[in-house]
């Protein structure tokens, strides 16, 4: 260290320039955080799951919003605003999960309606059979 400081004055500008350059490099690295890959993957998986569950039919609007949020996350990544991209990816995922949940609820309600109709038909048939006697 001492030797560096005792270096001839003519070398000092070089050392200063070197320091500046490395600082700039470090700063550049710090300002470009990595893309939120796992959040984006999770969103994609959640959307695929919702599609498999036929969310298209039962919760189309929710599924559409999930896709839109994922597209927004993609473009945020391209603009290198990674914090925003991660938030959008999380929103896309939770929205896709909502699409799945609403799809399941709608299907369950549909099954019940079908069952009710069956029971009603049976009762009706029974009554008719009773009348015909």
């Amino acid at each position: 260290m001492n030797q560096t400081i005792r270096a001839t004055p003519s070398r000092r500008p070089f050392i200063a320039a070197g320091l500046m350059a490395s600082l700039t490099l470090i700063a550049a690295c710090a300002s470009a955080p990595p893309a939120p890959v796992s959040a984006m993957d999770a969103a994609r998986v959640a959307i695929t799951n919702a599609e498999k569950a036929e969310a298209n039919r039962y919760a189309g609007a929710e599924l559409g919003e999930a896709r839109k949020k994922l597209a927004m996350a993609d473009s945020a990544v391209r603009q290198e605003s990674m914090v925003r991209a991660e938030q959008l990816a999380q929103q896309s995922r939770v929205q896709a999960e909502l699409a799945s949940a609403r799809t399941a609820a709608a299907k369950a309600a549909e099954v019940n309606k079908e069952l009710e109709r069956g029971a009603d038909a049976l009762t009706e048939e029974m009554q008719r059979a009773g009348e015909s006697t």
């Binding site: 999380q90 999960e97 369950a108 019940n112 029971a119 059979a129």
Partner: protein, 310 residues
């Protein structure tokens, strides 16, 4: 020489005042205040929690919603986007809890509907039997009392046999429907239910919300079939050391077991074991393959003397 000095002093004073004012403003704006929309989400959650039909039907999703709402209520200094993001997440988690509770409610209603249908069917049988008896009575009006009574008994016996057969068929139907609802595979080991689907984050053992509806159904199934025992097997992907994965898979299995115990299933019926990374169901090379490998398999044993129909 004096005047520049004076003006410098004046500038200093103005600066000081400006700084003070800005401090006061900053203090005002940073008084703890939840982000916009947080109160609405909270009241939506409260409504769900106090709903007599839905409030207790999706415990895991409700818990996640509660956590998200609490986070959304935290004041965020200067980062309005973060506040809005948290409110969005909390709102959707509450809606997911609402939907899951609704699904569970429908499923519980279904059992009641099936009972009603059984009753209707039984009524129909009784009516048929009565009618048969009446017909028999009319046809054999002139015959001896003994003969008439015998035929009526025979009809009644036939009717009750038909009713019993239909009840047995109904029971088999119900079981099949429960199995369908669980989306379990029927194997010689019993019913195998895979809790895959984004259940666990890489390296974590706590359950995610997607697990809730499947697990709720499992709890219902186990309550309806108290003679079936359950083996819970944890599996991991191949990321990380062998020992670590072994321990992690054990913790995952334990985490499912403790959820079931929490839901009132007797611990004596449940065994949990960790299989580590040794039984993958998909290639560990891709993210989606690894996700499928991070799973818990639930093997629902056959009851001691199961009557397999079909």
């Amino acid at each position: 020489m004096n005047s520049p000095n004076n003006s410098r002093r004046r500038t200093g004073k103005i600066l000081a005042v400006a700084t003070a004012v800005s401090f006061v403003l900053a203090a005002c704006s940073s008084t703890p205040q939840s982000p916009e929309g947080a109160a609405e989400v909270r009241s939506k959650l409260t409504r769900l929690q106090s709903d007599p039909n839905l409030g207790t039907r999706a415990p895991l999703a409700l818990q996640e919603a509660e956590t998200a709402v609490r986070l959304a209520e935290q004041p965020v200094a200067r980062d309005a986007a973060l506040g809005a993001h948290r409110v969005y997440m909390a709102d959707r988690k509450v809606e997911i809890a609402v939907a899951q509770a609704g699904t569970r409610y429908s499923e519980d209603q279904r059992a009641k509907l099936a009972d009603e249908r059984d009753r209707a069917r039984l009524d129909a049988r009784t009516l048929e039997a009565d009618k048969a008896r009446a017909d028999a009575g009319a046809a054999r009006a002139g015959a001896a009392d003994a003969a008439r009574m015998a035929s009526a008994d025979a009809d009644a016996a036939r009717a009750s046999a038909a009713a019993a057969a239909s009840a047995a068929a109904q029971q088999a139907d119900d079981l099949q429907r429960q199995i369908d609802a669980l989306q379990a595979k029927v194997t010689d080991r019993g019913l195998v239910l895979t809790l895959g689907d984004v259940l666990f984050t890489s390296g974590r053992a706590d359950l995610k919300v997607g697990a809730a509806s499947n697990l709720d159904r499992l709890v219902a199934f186990l309550n309806q079939n108290p003679n079936r025992n359950v083996e819970i097997e944890g599996h991991t992907d191949s990321v990380g050391a062998d020992d670590y994965n072994q321990a992690l898979s054990q913790r995952r299995a334990d985490s499912v077991k403790s959820f079931l115990v929490q839901q009132g299933i007797s611990g004596a019926r449940l065994s949990a074991s960790g299989m580590g990374e040794h039984r993958p169901v998909a290639a560990n090379e891709s993210a989606s393959g690894r996700q499928q490998n991070r799973r818990v398999e639930i093997i629902i044993g056959n009851p001691p003397d199961v009557v397999t129909s079909n």
